[in-house]
Symmetry: C2
Subunit: 141 residues, 2 copies
Amino acid sequence: MSSPKAQVSAERALCGLVTGLSRQIGDHLRERAAMIGLTSAQATALRELTGPMTMSELAERMSCEPSNATFVIDKLERQGLLERHPHPTDRRAKQLVRTEAGTELRERLLELLTEDSPLAELSPQEQAMLHALLDRAVTKH
Amino acid sequence: MSSPKAQVSAERALCGLVTGLSRQIGDHLRERAAMIGLTSAQATALRELTGPMTMSELAERMSCEPSNATFVIDKLERQGLLERHPHPTDRRAKQLVRTEAGTELRERLLELLTEDSPLAELSPQEQAMLHALLDRAVTKH
DNA sequence: ACCGTAAGCTTCAAGCTTGAAAGATTCAAG
DNA sequence: CTTGAATCTTTCAAGCTTGAAGCTTACGGT
């Protein structure tokens, strides 16, 4: 069960690279989001709000805790980008709906996000290979 | 300069995978750190404190702002795991030195971190390929 | 020696994130 | 129907992270 030392060290380096790239992706998002007055968390929420959905669904899409979604959605609601409507069939849930302003800003955001992608350095073939490897790594368990 | 829509979508998916894997790595760290009463940030600091170094050096190694290092090091110092000594030649700087308890806990931490690596699913060959690709992606700028 | 700029560290405000706890509502089993 | 477990959301405390501002000290040019 004990791995050779060289392999342990290789894995650590790999972790560093993954985290580094993830950081770059996050920085890119933050930079683009700032252009339209959003933080990166708010931008993620707006990006994932593809249509009306509940808090849970959004949290799921954002890969965060529901309590965090509450916090971020509060900000977006205060900016008039979306509204919390009562859910049509479940009185426990809220249905998030973009306002017109929210929809417009989302369009703008999606455009901005396609510019200067952090992965632009890789060819489509390399991207495909990377995708396959990451898929295998993520779907470990 | 405009990329085809399919490629934009592929890049977005890739970003999601990278962030997801990075999250898994972070979760693994947090879980292991919790076993010895540390948060993940504290564990990162202790892991990177390979020997006496300044705050700046540590912040660099942790890939974070110096102000953040101040915050995290405060916690570790309060737990008696390290001390801030005056730097021998630069009176502006502090020299961080692990206490004996800090050194012992660090050993334990390093052991824990090698267990159940989030990348264990990949063979050494795959890891090497991944490493190469990530290297290219990160070194874009 | 003097001065301006830069570096090292800290403090602060603002925002993000998690996990636990609590209130409201749903749903299924009796 | 009633009860109990599960779900949806929010609140709160604690911790992480960044960026700006400020203090002290270092260093290069004059």
